[in-house]
C-alpha cells in the first residue's frame, strides 16, 4: 500500500518535522521505495515466533533509592537556547 501526500503530511506532523512543500513529492517517493523494501518482510512466515525486543533477553537491574544528583542547573542551562529565572522558555503553552 503506497503512501500518499496526505499520509506523508500526517506522519511529518506526528514527528513534528517541518517539510518544504517542494520536498513532499520526492519524500513521498523515497518513503514508498523504503516501504517497498520493508514490505518484503510480509512474505516471511513468523507464526508462533515471539517478538524479540532485546538480543540478550536479560532482565532489568534495579537501582537503590538514593539521591545521587546535585544541582547543576547553571551548567545545564548554559547550553540552552532560551532561559529566564531558571526556567526554559518556549512559545506560550495553551491548555
Amino acid at each position: 500500500m503506497a503512501l500518499e501526500r496526505s499520509d506523508v503530511e500526517k506522519i511529518a506532523h506526528l514527528a513534528r518535522l517541518g517539510l518544504d512543500e517542494a520536498e513532499i513529492p520526492r519524500t513521498t517517493e523515497t518513503l514508498n521505495n523504503i516501504l517497498g523494501l520493508i514490505d518484503r518482510m510480509q512474505a516471511v512466515n513468523t507464526d508462533g515466533i515471539e517478538p524479540l525486543a532485546h538480543p540478550l533477553e536479560a532482565t532489568q537491574r534495579l537501582r537503590a533509592d538514593q539521591v545521587t544528583e546535585t544541582d547543576r542547573r547553571d551548567a545545564y542551562q548554559a547550553i540552552a537556547p532560551a532561559v529566564e529565572n531558571g526556567l526554559y522558555l518556549v512559545p506560550k503553552v495553551i491548555e
Binding site: 499520509d7 523494501l37 518482510m41 513468523t46 515466533i49 537556547p81 512559545p91
Partner: protein
C-alpha cells in the same frame, strides 16, 4: 611516527623513544596538514590533547606504565565529551557542548589515552557512506573520490590515513565493520551490552554498540579492554567480567571450526571479493582451522527487519531534539508547533528525517503489528539461525561488504541501494553477537574486508583469529598512497 600501532606506541613510550606530548603534537600537525583532504575531524581539541599528553607523560615518569598511557586516539562525534562540541554530525547539535563525558570517553581517559578530537560521521550514525554529515562528506584515503563507508567514516578515514593510530566508533548495522572494510582497518563490534551506551547518543538503542577501529587486531584488543565493562548507568550493559583480550591473541588456531554461510556468497557479492575471502579461509586452514558450510536461512530478511526496528527506535530517540533545552532552535518561532517543526525540520538532514518518518509510520496506530512486531519476530528468527550455527562452528566467516568503496554520491539519490550494502553486517546487530572486520586484500586498489562473527561475549575469539591471521599476512600493513 604516524605509522605506529598502539602496541608499538606503548613500547616506544615505555622506552622513552618519544614522549606522549611529542607524539600528539606530531599527529596534530599531521591532522592540520592532511585532514582538509579527508574531512575526518569535526573538532580538533589540541589544547586538551596537550594537557592530557602532559599528564600521561607525568604518570609515566612517576612509574605508571599502562598500555594506553599517552596513546593518541579520537572519538566518533556521538560520544559525549564534557564541554567539547558533540554534534552527531547534525545541524541540530551544531552548538552542543555536552555537559558530561560518555562512559567510554571516561574509561579511555582514565586509561591515559590522549583525545585529539571528534570525528566526522553520518548524521546520527544513519548511513553507510558518511555522506549525510552536516559537516560534509568524508573521503576515503585510498581514493579521495570514494566514500570511506559509514557511519563511523571519520574514524575509519582518520586511522587509515595515519592521523591517529586508533579511534572509537559505533555500530548499529555495520557502522564500525563496514568502514573498517572499506579502508583496510580492523574494527570490532562487541556483543550488545559489552560496552556502556551511557553518553553515546542513541540511534537505535537495542542495536547500538561502541567499539574500536584500528590497524591491527592487537590494537583493537588493547582498546576494547579499556572500553568494555559493566556500567550501572546503562540498564542494558552486562555485568560480566571482561576477558583478557591481549592474552587470548596468541592462542593457536588448531581445531578452530569456521562456518561459511552459503547465503553470504550468493548473488550481489562482487566475485573478486568472494575470491579474497576464500583466500583468507585457505590461510586460516593452514593455521589449523577446519571449514564447514553452514546456512543462515533468514539472512535476507534482516534488511527489511532492520529498516523497521532501527528507524522505529530512532523516531522516538530523536524526539528529544526539540529546540528547548539544548541544540539548534529555529529563529523566532511563532508558536510551539512552529518551534518543533522548524527546529527539527531545519536541524535534521534528509536521511535522518526519512528514517524518523519511516519509524513513526511503523509505530503508528494500525501498522504496529504488521511492521514493528513482525520485524521483531524476524529478529528472533535471525538470532535462532546464529544459535543453531554456533552449535556446530566456533566462528562464522564471510565478506564484510558486497562491494568495495563506491564513488561519492553514487548511491545518495537512492537510499534503498545504500541500505542493501548492509546485508552482511546487520544480522550481528539484530542478534546482538560480536563481529569483526579485518583487511583481506584489495580489488582494483581498494581494500576488501572479511567479517568474523562469534557467539555472545566471544570477542576474545574474534580478536584471536584476526591476530593470528595478521601474523602470517601483511594486508593490514598496507597504507594508502599520499598518507
Amino acid at each position: 611516527m604516524h605509522r605506529l600501532t598502539l602496541a608499538q606506541i606503548a613500547r616506544g613510550l615505555a622506552a622513552k623513544d618519544f614522549s606522549a606530548v611529542e607524539l600528539s603534537d606530531a599527529l596534530l600537525a599531521r591532522i592540520q596538514q592532511l585532514d582538509p583532504q579527508l574531512n575526518s575531524f569535526i573538532t580538533v581539541t589540541a589544547d586538551q590533547a596537550r594537557a592530557q599528553a602532559q599528564a600521561a607523560d607525568a604518570r609515566r615518569a612517576s612509574g605508571e606504565n599502562g598500555a594506553l598511557l599517552g596513546a593518541p586516539i579520537a572519538h566518533k562525534d556521538l560520544f559525549c565529551t564534557k564541554d567539547v562540541l558533540t554534534t552527531c554530525a547534525s545541524k541540530i547539535l551544531h552548538n552542543f557542548k555536552a555537559p558530561y563525558d560518555a562512559t567510554v570517553v571516561e574509561k579511555l581517559a582514565a586509561a591515559g589515552t590522549v583525545s585529539l578530537g571528534k570525528l566526522n560521521m553520518d548524521e546520527f550514525a544513519m548511513g553507510s557512506a558518511n555522506e549525510s554529515s552536516h559537516f560534509g562528506a568524508v573521503k576515503n584515503p585510498w581514493d579521495l573520490s570514494r566514500v570511506p563507508g559509514g557511519s563511523s567514516g571519520g574514524s575509519a578515514a582518520a586511522v587509515a590515513a595515519g592521523l591517529i593510530p586508533a579511534a572509537t566508533g559505533t555500530d548499529t548495522g555495520g557502522s564500525i565493520r563496514q568502514p573498517a572494510a572499506l579502508t583496510n582497518l580492523t574494527g570490532l563490534k562487541p556483543t550488545y551490552g559489552r560496552v556502556s551506551r551511557w553518553g553515546m547518543i542513541a540511534y537505535a538503542s537495542s542495536l547500538d554498540q561502541g567499539g574500536p577501529l584500528a590497524r591491527t587486531a592487537e590494537d583493537c584488543a588493547l582498546l576494547l579492554g579499556a572500553m568494555a565493562g559493566f556500567d550501572p548507568k546503562d540498564s542494558t550493559c552486562v555485568d560480566a567480567p571482561v576477558d583478557d583480550y591481549l592474552a587470548a591473541l596468541n592462542q593457536p588456531l588448531a581445531g578452530l571450526r569456521i562456518g561459511l554461510p552459503r547465503e553470504y556468497f550468493g548473488a550481489g557479492l562482487d566475485a573478486r571479493i568472494a575470491e579474497q575471502v576464500l583466500a583468507v579461509v585457505e590461510e586460516l586452514k593452514k593455521l589449523g582451522a577446519t571449514v564447514k558450510d553452514i546456512s543462515l536461512p533468514n539472512m535476507q530478511h534482516a534488511i527489511p527487519a532492520y529498516y523497521v526496528i532501527a528507524p522505529a527506535e530512532a523516531s522516538s530517540n530523536l524526539s528529544r531534539f526539540d529546540g528547548v533545552r539544548f541544540g539548534y532552535r529555529c529563529e523566532n518561532p511563532v508558536n510551539l508547533e512552529d518551534l518543533y517543526k522548524r527546529s527539527r525540520g531545519e536541524g535534521f538532514g534528509a536521511e535522518v528525517k526519512r528514517r524518523i518518518m519511516v519509524g513513526t509510520y511503523a509505530l503508528s496506530a494500525g501498522y504496529y503489528d504488521a511492521y514493528y512486531l513482525k520485524a521483531q519476530r524476524i529478529r528472533r528468527l535471525i538470532k535462532n539461525d546464529f544459535v543453531q550455527a554456533f552449535a556446530e562452528v566456533d566462528v562464522i566467516l564471510g565478506p564484510t561488504t558486497p562491494n568495495p568503496a563506491w564513488q561519492l554520491g553514487a548511491k545518495s539519490a537512492d537510499p534503498v541501494s545504500a541500505y542493501l550494502e548492509d546485508i552482511y553486517t546487520i544480522t550481528a546487530n539484530l542478534a546482538g553477537i560480536p563481529g569483526l572486520s579485518m583487511p583481506a586484500g584489495f580489488v582494483d586498489g581498494l581494500p576488501v574486508g572479511v567479517q568474523l562473527l562469534a557467539p555472545y561475549f566471544q570477542e576474545a575469539r574474534l580478536l584471536n583469529v584476526a591476530h593470528q591471521y595478521q601474523q602470517v599476512t601483511d594486508w593490514h600493513t598496507r597504507t594508502p598512497a599520499g598518507f
